[in-house]
């Protein structure tokens, strides 16, 4: 009774008739059909569409609003499916994912033990005691999973081999689609990284602070996630003009590891260098959220928030521009 797409996003199914209602598409004017989409019509939507029909007959002035609501629901369903499919893809390649997490765990392991060794003979390093610094390292690790976890690097390959066309001909927004894929990636990685952090804490018997100011830190974190998303997209959009996209990404990853504060808190740097870095987008990726979770709330936090928000807007604009320009000069080798 229901034409529900599973793994295949949008199979080319005949549209125009809702099988469960038995009505031709024309007679259900309030049930929007997006071009190219299958006529998804399960029990919930059936109820919706019946309600819409009923409402539509009673009072047409509400029709537009109801249509809007309906299209939002369908749109959400669409992206929810992208989310589920992305998760399923990870579970298909389970070994790859586990090995990837193992590699990430080793990186955390090295930095954690390095700082642990530094505190064996030192009580304080600058403003940090052992618990504070180890907490910072672990918070940054969790945050970096959320900020750096991305699938946008695949876009470069898709542009080069032309498979990006698959997105362009579908009734979906590419940016939203990629954002949902990224959310799924972050969601899955987050579960694993929390497990890894617990494992390290159990193994070493170290104590850390419980995160504070979660809401405030979360707001900064959201900006960090957006900045990273747009930078990653821009790095992929370079593929519109050259096939050599891995070099700039490699350079970016090398830079981010240090200037975003994943190996040490940035306020350990000499002050002029630290203050200069605050005007760059990097400290807003890991450093600020981690510091806020540690409980350090600076008086100038509003200014820093404005700076991070400005970077989000700047990168958003730049990404849109690159996408628009890139589409005009898009070419790919045959398929």
């Amino acid at each position: 009774m229901c034409l529900r797409p599973t793994l295949n996003f949008f199979p080319q199914i005949e549209t125009g008739r809702c099988p469960s209602l038995g009505l031709p598409a024309k007679s259900t004017p309030h049930f929007p059909i997006e071009s190219g989409l299958p006529y998804v019509c399960d029990s919930v939507e059936k109820k919706f569409s019946i309600c819409f029909l009923w409402f539509g007959r009673i009072n047409s002035k509400y029709t537009k609003r109801i249509n809007d609501l309906s299209s939002i629901i369908i749109s959400m369903r669409k992206y929810f499916r992208v989310f589920v499919i992305t998760l399923k893809q990870y579970f298909v390649y389970r070994l790859s994912f586990v090995l990837w997490r193992f590699r990430m765990f080793i990186n955390l392991f090295i930095v954690f033990f390095l700082w642990n060794a530094v505190f064996l003979k030192n009580q304080h390093i600058s403003y940090y005691n052992r618990t504070a610094l180890l907490s910072y390292i672990l918070f940054v690790n969790v945050i970096s999973t959320l900020v750096l976890g991305t699938r946008t690097s695949d876009v470069a390959t898709q542009i080069n081999d032309g498979t990006i066309m698959n997105y362009l001909v579908k009734p979906i927004k590419l940016f939203r689609h990629l954002a949902v894929e990224d959310i799924a990636d972050k969601f899955l990685n987050l579960g694993f990284v929390i497990f890894e952090v617990v494992l390290i804490l159990r193994f070493t018997g170290s104590a850390i602070f419980f995160p504070r100011n979660i809401l405030l830190g979360g707001i900064f974190l959201l900006n960090g996630v957006c900045i990273s998303f747009f930078i990653n997209l821009m790095l992929s959009f370079i593929a519109f003009w050259t096939t050599e996209t891995w070099g700039p990404r490699f350079l970016y990853l090398m830079l981010v590891g240090f200037v975003a504060g994943s190996f040490f808190p940035l306020d350990l740097l000499p002050k002029p260098l630290y203050q200069l870095l605050l005007f760059s987008p990097f400290p807003y990726l890991f450093y600020f959220p981690a510091k806020i979770f540690l409980g350090t709330v600076d008086k100038q936090l509003t200014i820093y928030y404005v700076i991070s928000l400005s970077w989000v807007l700047i990168f958003w604009r730049l990404t849109s521009l690159m996408w628009a320009k890139g589409n005009k000069s898009f070419s790919f080798w045959g398929r």
């Binding site: 070994l95 790859s96 080793i106 990186n107 060794a117 530094v118 064996l120 070493t204 070099g247 350079l251």
Partner: protein, 264 residues
């Protein structure tokens, strides 16, 4: 014997020439990669400096000694990248069936799949590492010509161990077609040797010294340079590399016997 060696050397240089040409076809990528590698080196250097600016000693080592550990890691890691880069490209050979063509050639397949793709970008990085290490080593108190010789000997030993790991990855690549993650896990594990092994607690330290010989590869050469490596451990490290070489070659032979050609 000498003729065969000369022939192999000739083939090695031929493949290296191809690799040079392939690498420098992508000039923009080369620039970004070199910049990335330089940044990584400088920034880790800076991290060590930053730590020692705040703490005089870490795990019993001074800043110069910690830098020697770091440089030794870089020399071994980079040298193994220079020689064994082709291993990273082995999987497509197996899955496409083109490995058959390698096996048909009248020379040892290692010439193609193990050392057939010299990474020239890493050659450029290796030279400054060696110069800085030598400069620092002669400025550390207590370093004698014999300790320098032992340091060099253990660097070669580390490269043999690195080679055995790469051969094992090739063998696993034939058996399972999984190469990418295996080699990257090996590389991540070796990064444990970027800092002295003393920063890790037991049993991790023992595990990464005696079971997975990262310590032998990365930490033993600096120990020899600082005259803190016992003769017992020196002999153990050479024995370990010989045993690993034997095991890896046996694994390779056994993998070759089980190899089934793919594709058409």
């Amino acid at each position: 014997m000498i003729k065969s060696f000369k022939n192999n050397l000739k083939i090695f240089f031929l493949y290296s020439k191809f690799s040079w040409k392939t690498t420098f076809q992508m000039r923009l990528g080369v620039i970004f990669f070199m910049l990335g590698k330089i940044f990584r080196f400088v920034l880790f250097f800076f991290l060590i400096y930053l730590i020692f600016m705040r703490a005089k000693m870490v795990a019993g080592y001074t800043i110069n000694q910690a830098i020697i550990f770091y440089l030794t890691f870089n020399i071994i890691d980079t040298a193994s990248q220079v020689f064994f880069r082709e291993v990273y490209r082995f999987r497509p050979l197996v899955t496409s069936g083109n490995f058959d063509l390698v096996l048909l050639k009248p020379f040892h397949p290692f010439l193609r799949v193990l050392i057939g793709g010299v990474d020239f970008l890493d050659v450029f990085m290796l030279i400054p590492y060696i110069i800085i290490t030598f400069y620092l080593a002669v400025h550390i108190a207590g370093v004698s010509p014999s300790s320098l010789f032992l340091y060099f000997l253990l660097l070669c030993n580390a490269l043999v161990i690195a080679m055995t790991f790469h051969i094992m990855v090739l063998a696993l690549g034939i058996l399972t077609t999984e190469v990418d993650h295996t080699i990257l896990i090996y590389r991540d594990l070796t990064t444990l040797g970027r800092f002295p092994l003393e920063i890790y607690r037991e049993p991790i330290r023992g595990l990464f010294t005696f079971i997975i010989p990262i310590g032998i590869m990365m930490s033993f050469p600096p120990y020899a340079l600082f005259n803190i490596l016992s003769w017992r451990l020196l002999i153990y490290s050479i024995l370990a590399s010989c045993i690993l070489l034997f095991i890896s070659l046996k694994l390779w032979d056994s993998a070759l016997k089980k190899y089934q050609s793919w594709g058409g």
